[in-house]
Amino acid sequence: MTHESMTRGRITPGLMTRRSLWIALLLVWSLAPMLWQLLSSFTTADALVNDQLSFWSRWTLNNYRDLLSTDPPFWRYLLNSSLVASLTTLLTLMLAIPAAYGLAKLPQRLKGILRTAVVGAALFPYVLLFLALLELARTFALGNNLIAIAIPYSALSMPLALLLLTAAFEALPNDLEDAAKLEGLSLWQRLRWVLLPLIAPASASTAILVFLFAWNEYPVALTWLSRSDLLTLPVAMARIAGSSTYSVPYGTYAAATVLGAIPLLVLVLVFQRQIVSGLTNGAIKG
């Protein structure tokens, strides 16, 4: 503490510029591919393979026009993905919040065993499950149904959601719930008026992570959905990439990537404060 504040107190201009340099390098490293995609999405197919073209003849909006004029149009996939991801998030939170509360209240030994099991489930490579899941979809006729696909998505997100939310409940001081009890609040009233508001940051970051998982998921979507108007983004984008045997439509593909990233960017920008405080946790003070 003292050491850190001492060094912070002695920051020289040279040190500052060196630090900014590192931050700049880091940003370039992580953002350059995205910038490349953004540029590519506005570049004509010719310009992508030919660097002799003049600067002014390289740019086009055709990639986006192509993307939105296909049948079904690209926004349809955006809508599908939004629907699936929202449903998944909702279902996961509805199940994981009461479950995490229960887990946090269990006696220590039982909690340890269950936590180990949940961590195991969270680390399990879920790709190994997709054949079994496909079998389930066949048996219960859940294929080609955007609402039904939220079920396996929620199940796959559950371990991570449980870990994050259980930790959040455990971080709350016991006295708070005891005080609410003595105030005459029933279990549901305590959850609604005291506990849920206090774990809101953790819930927000959990929601974002679950939403992201559902947005990006590929193998299950590939096997559960086959009707072209029901595809989710990742599957639809893979189809664009493989739509022509003789050429790869880089421009269109880049445009799809940009459009597909926008909803997530908005979401993260809106909730960034909650995400950070939820992930670092311990944000609750009396």
Binding site: K181, L182, G184, L185, I284, G286
Partner: protein, 330 residues
């Protein structure tokens, strides 16, 4: 209104926290549970509140059995050591939440909250979050919440141990005015004997899950039932002389006096507090603490004595008080 505990047993795993605990608190009476940490005093409070369940025994409030009544419906007002204010709500909402959940019209709610804020001088802080309040203000909000609960019993769990000494002294009269001596029984848990003596009608000194002695502060001070109680009540601590013929003799530091005809001793240390001073002296019977007025001049080698009527005699093995043939000195 009365509170009655009968033969309460509670164990956590291997540890027996409370043994056959009996306790009666009368209407308007304040009983302090006093003891070192881990003696079971807080557990007893949580059992009364319904936050923990006793293994055996009965808890009655106004004659009604409470053991199977959940905490939500027991109507107890509790003040926590940590205050346990809801950090996401401002003072007003903290106080209103319970009232709203329990029902009742909005107008009466507003009136009651406004009244209690007025009494506790918190009207200006109604829209502040707990994190924006000082320790003393938080404590008063916690008191206000307990008052608004309109409880059958008040339970106070070391309500002042997070405050500095000055604030504690300021809050004691408020506490007495608002909670203690009303209609309800009050159980006050503390490890501070001074606080217990200042506020409680009776003090129960607890040790290892049992009540070692219960009585008025005066009884405990003048006739401690064991060496444990003797050392817990009264500051500075009672002097316990090494056992002779199976008897430990105890003398309060304020009963010792400087006496030219007494036994000689040497001064080991001296603490001066203004109104009085405390000396640690070594004599042939061992080391003794002595309290005398602050302006008394102290020789390098004083002589001390004590009246025989001030001696407390305890069994050296059990530590229990031995019956004395003389009358208590009160």
């Amino acid at each position: 209104m009365t509170l009655q505990l009968r033969a309460i047993n509670k164990r956590f795993g291997e540890r027996q926290v409370l043994h056959q605990l009996d306790l009666d608190v009368a209407n308007g009476e304040c009983v302090a549970l006093l003891g070192a940490s881990g003696c079971g005093k807080s557990t007893a409070l949580r059992l009364i509140a319904g936050l923990d369940h006793p293994d055996q025994g009965s808890i009655r409030i106004n004659g009604a059995e409470m053991v199977d009544v959940p905490a939500e419906r027991r109507r107890v007002g509790m003040v926590f050591q940590s205050y346990a204010l809801f950090p996401h709500l401002n003072v007003w909402d903290n106080l209103e939440l319970g009232l709203r959940m329990r029902g009742g019209s909005a107008a009466t709610r507003d009136e009651r909250i406004r009244g209690v804020l007025e009494v506790l001088q918190l009207s200006g802080q109604a829209r502040l979050r707990p994190s924006q309040l000082s320790g003393g203000q938080r404590q008063r909000v916690a008191l206000a919440r307990a008052l608004l609960r309109d409880p059958l019993v008040y339970l106070l769990d070391e309500p002042m141990s997070n405050l500095d000494a000055q604030l504690r002294e300021d809050l004691r009269p408020q506490l007495r005015r608002l909670m203690i001596g009303g209609e309800q029984p009050v159980v006050y848990v503390t490890h501070d004997q001074q606080e217990a003596m200042a506020l409680a009608d009776r003090i129960a000194v607890m040790r290892e899950g049992r009540i070692e002695q219960i009585g008025t502060p005066r009884e405990l001070y003048l006739q401690p039932a064991s060496t444990y109680v003797a050392q817990f009540i009264g500051r500075p601590q009672m002097n316990l002389l090494p056992a002779r013929d199976g008897v430990i003799t105890g003398i309060r530091p304020d009963d010792l006096r400087l006496d030219p005809a007494g036994s000689p001793c040497t001064i080991l240390s001296r603490e001066w507090f203004g109104a009085n001073q405390m000396l640690l002296v070594r004599c042939d019977r061992g080391d003794l603490r002595l309290v005398c007025p602050g302006e008394t001049a102290i020789e390098a080698e004083p002589r001390i004595s004590w009246p025989g009527t001030c001696e407390h005699r305890f069994d050296a093995v059990s530590g229990r008080r031995l019956p004395s043939d003389r009358l208590p000195s009160d």
